[in-house]
């Protein structure tokens, strides 16, 4: 019964969404306040109904209601509760419902926190958001109903894909969806602004927090997925340039470009039409990502629910919203006059370069991802585009971005002077280059990856610190230190996020250039040396898990006679799903990870054991965490909080009717 109520609630929410798409738009056009006014309560109702539908589906998973097809296909009574909860979104239908839930959540948030927006803009934003939501609700209800019942319920379910039964991956999709869907807010704001025909500094200030939030969620989501791949796939890879990964990277790059260009709109009222275009494309690429994951058009390690019919439905959604928005853009872009004038050397110009690099690199990833398809259809050549291409095509953009970042961040608005901006940076530049050269001289082999990574990483991190220091102005060191604590959180956010990028660049280079590997057969009791560690296979045990059996190796690691860690790599087997998984054992340290996986038993009684030393692997996750933290700091900046609080002092009657 609860499941049927959930289904019914979703259909009701769909009806509300349709109404919310039309009524506020008409109201805003005609200037009817009561018609505009329904948008906010409707957004709340939509969210409440969808939340109820989602709760109903979750309930079916928790109580293992095997009369629901989705529960049978993705759950099992023995599965731990946390994976029953994550099982709701570990499949096509449920994840789509989560997607819809987040869409309504963002819509409702715009209703709850958007009281300071001009009435007509808010009505239009909510209407556009609701239009997007309605189309995804239709997609869910008509092609991917998660509430389908079975006439003859089986005794037990077929379990969730064991690879998904993992804490890292359990929370990867919700973050990613919060990011993808967060960009829908930027899209709605862009389209609403195009309908209004007005983009000003205030618009930049409103759209930026949504973009920032979406970017933070995307960063966390991508990092979680990458971390999962690192420890779960058994050989410590963290990025594969897989179509599905690219599908999340492209919106991330666009969101990064957008949140920088929105600053220019906010502070200088320039780059308006470009920012609008970025907002449209950012969400467009999010939709494209959904299409890639769910259509089965491109083969990928992560794709689930490959179904061409669903692909066509998403394609129609993309064509409708992207086509509509771009047409609107073509008609209205000229109306968005830029006001701010700035010289060729200025913060504005630096941010334009940032946008050029981010947007072009995103397009390059897009072309590489779609090329096999184009090549097959147009040129009749079946081919692959893999990591070697992306490494070669993407890296130059990342390097260029890291190179200009500290200088650009230091340039003043309107009119700058490179020599002046470089003044506090010369020392850092010399230091970074010297460290890079030192690393190059010390390492064996001639690979330039790590030296370049070290130099760039130091340049960006210390550049960010110098930027923060210069913000404190003149005076004694004590005064400046005191001022450091009083700097706006946006400044701290900027420095933190930029340092995170520098750390990530360094970690990627160190992992690529310095990791070492060892593959061998070990008898029980046998030892070997790897990177200064003595590893001994003490034994192999059989362990029974809740819904799997495991073969667990016990490997003692020592360094100079001192025990470092006991590593327990596992090979698990999930009998219900009939799938094996590998669980690497990792000893995390600040300067390296010791990474061990257990292979097959050999004919001579030994076990295959694979060992990696992964230098500075943790710095990669720390770098991503810093980027996300920087975004959050910036999001908590006073100017957003004050703007949000301002509405309380203004009574609604004081807002003039347009």
């Amino acid at each position: 019964m609860i499941v049927e109520l959930g289904h019914f609630a979703l259909i009701l929410a769909f009806a509300v969404a349709l109404a919310q798409t039309v009524i506020p738009l008409v109201g805003a056009h005609k200037g009817w306040r009561d018609w505009m006014g329904v948008a906010s309560p409707m957004a709340s109702v939509q969210f409440a109904l969808t939340a109820f539908a989602y709760a109903a589906l979750t309930y079916a998973f928790v109580v293992s209601d095997f009369s629901v097809k989705l529960v049978v296909d993705n759950s099992h009574t023995l599965k731990p509760l946390i994976y029953k909860l994550s099982g709701v979104w570990g499949n096509h239908e449920g994840s789509l419902l989560l997607w819809v839930l987040i869409l309504t959540l963002f819509g409702a948030s715009a209703a709850w926190f958007g009281g300071n927006l001009p009435r007509s803009l808010q009505a239009r934003v909510l209407a556009v958001q609701s239009g997007v939501t309605a189309s995804f609700m239709a997609f869910t209800i008509f092609t991917s109903n998660p509430f389908t019942r079975l006439a003859q319920p089986p005794f037990d379910g077929t379990d969730l894909n064991p690879l998904l039964q993992d804490p890292g991956l359990a929370f990867h999709p919700p973050f990613l969806y919060l990011g993808y869907v967060g960009l829908s807010m930027a899209f709605s704001f862009a389209v609403a602004a195009l309908i209004e025909g007005r983009v000003d500094a205030a618009w930049g200030r409103w759209v930026r927090p949504w973009t920032l939030a979406a970017w933070v969620f995307l960063t966390i989501g991508i990092a979680l997925g990458s971390w999962w791949a690192y420890y779960e796939l058994g050989w410590g890879g963290y990025w594969f340039w897989d179509p599905v990964e690219n599908a999340s990277l492209m919106p991330w790059l666009f969101a990064a470009a957008l949140l920088h260009s929105a600053i220019v709109v906010e502070k200088r009222e320039a780059l308006k039409s470009w920012t609008i275009l970025l907002a449209i494309l950012g969400f467009g690429f999010s939709l494209m990502g959904t299409f890639i994951v769910r259509s089965g058009l491109l083969t990928s390690v992560h794709a689930f629910a490959s179904d061409p019919d669903r692909g066509i439905f998403i394609l129609i959604i993309i064509a409708g919203f992207l086509g509509g928005a771009l047409t609107l853009f073509a008609f209205r872009a000229n109306a968005l006059e830029a006001k701010g004038v700035f010289s060729t050397v200025s913060r504005e110009s630096a941010l334009v370069m940032n946008n050029v690099l981010l947007a072009v690199s995103s397009f390059v990833v897009f072309i590489g991802t779609m090329w096999p398809l184009v090549s097959e259809m147009v040129f009749d050549r079946v081919l692959s585009v893999g990591p070697p291409f992306f490494d070669a095509a993407f890296t130059p953009f990342a390097v260029a971005l890291a190179m200009i970042l500290p200088i650009g961040a230091m340039l003043p608005w309107k009119r700058g002077d490179i020599a002046r901006a470089m003044k506090p940076l010369w020392g850092i530049m010399v230091f970074s280059l010297a460290m890079g050269a030192l690393v190059w001289a010390m390492q064996t082999g001639s690979s330039a990856i790590v030296p370049v990574g070290v130099a760039l990483g130091l340049w960006v991190v210390f550049g960010a610190a110098a930027d923060l220091w210069m913000r404190t102005g003149r005076g004694t060191i004590g005064n400046r230190l005191a001022r450091l604590g009083r700097l706006p959180r946006a400044d701290w956010g900027k420095a933190t996020a930029h340092s995170g990028l520098g750390m990530t660049v360094f970690a990627v280079a160190a992992l690529t250039g310095w990791q070492s590997e060892d593959i061998r057969v070990l008898q029980i009791g046998e030892s070997f040396e790897k990177g200064g560690y003595t590893l001994t296979l003490a034994g192999v045990e059989r362990v029974q898990g809740p819904n799997y059996t495991s073969t667990m190796g016990i490997i003692e690691a020592e360094r100079d006679g001192e025990p470092v860690s006991i590593l327990r790599p596992e090979k698990r087997f999930y009998p219900i799903a009939g799938m094996p998984t590998t669980e690497a054992a990792i000893n995390y340290k600040i300067h390296r990870d010791l990474y061990v996986t257990l292979g097959d038993p050999q004919d001579n009684g030994g076990w295959a054991v694979r060992t990696y030393i992964k230098p500075f692997a943790n710095w990669l996750w720390m770098g991503c965490a810093l980027m996300a933290l920087g975004g959050l700091l910036s999001l908590s900046d006073r100017r957003y909080r004050v703007a949000a609080g301002a509405k309380k002092r203004v009574s609604p009657n004081a807002v003039p009717a347009e």
């Binding site: 058994g234 050989w235 890879g237 594969f240 897989d242 179509p243 320039a270 083969t299 990928s300 390690v301 794709a303 830029a338 701010g340 004038v341 700035f342 010289s343 060729t344 504005e348 110009s349 334009v352 370069m353 050029v356 947007a359 072009v360 397009f363 390059v364 072309i367 590489g368 090329w371 090549s375 050549r381 079946v382 081919l383 692959s384 585009v385 893999g386 070697p388 291409f389 095509a393 130059p396 953009f397 593959i519 061998r520 057969v521 059989r542 029974q544 059996t549 073969t551 090979k571 087997f573 009998p575 009939g578 094996p580 590998t582 996986t597 292979g599 097959d600 050999q602 295959a608 694979r610």
Partner: protein, 153 residues
């Protein structure tokens, strides 16, 4: 219960198959050749997998291909010869690094071309911005109307 467990374990060992990419028995004795084999295999696609190189993949076919690469290397083939041997058999699809021939030129030129276009566009825009006059603009029609309303109140 123990019987069930024994069956499960046997089943597990039978089904789990190769849970490793490169197996210890595949590794060549000559470290230089092995290094070349690893480099080559990380650029070759496992044909039955969904986007993995044969160096990463656990599939049986990937193992066969890894062994094939090593056989060719031991037989004295150069890297290019090994690659063309595999492309002859499995087609261009096996290469993770697309060739620079024919239509693929468009792919490889996409990044520099797009960058030049975007960079050029940005430069033109920036010059325009720098030259634009800071003329004090009057009020828009709407704003003028609103001002008149306020003044007449």
């Amino acid at each position: 219960m123990t019987a069930v467990k024994a069956i499960l374990i046997t089943l597990m060992l039978a089904l789990s198959g190769p849970a490793f990419a490169v197996q210890p028995d595949e590794i060549l004795d000559d470290p230089v050749l092995e290094e070349r084999a690893r480099d080559l295999s990380s650029g070759l696609r496992c044909l039955v997998c969904r986007n993995e190189s044969i160096d990463e993949s656990n599939a049986d076919l990937a193992r066969d291909m890894r062994i094939l690469v090593r056989e060719r290397l031991v037989a004295g083939d150069t890297d290019a010869e090994v690659i063309s041997f595999l492309v002859d058999r499995f087609g261009e699809y096996v290469l993770l690094r697309p060739t620079t021939q024919g239509s693929n030129i468009a792919l490889w030129l996409a990044a520099p071309a797009l960058f030049l276009i975007a960079f050029g566009g940005a430069l033109v825009y920036l010059r325009g911005r720098a030259r634009a006059k800071t003329e004090a603009r009057g009020l828009s029609a709407d704003e003028q109307k609103r001002l008149d309303e306020l003044l007449s109140e």
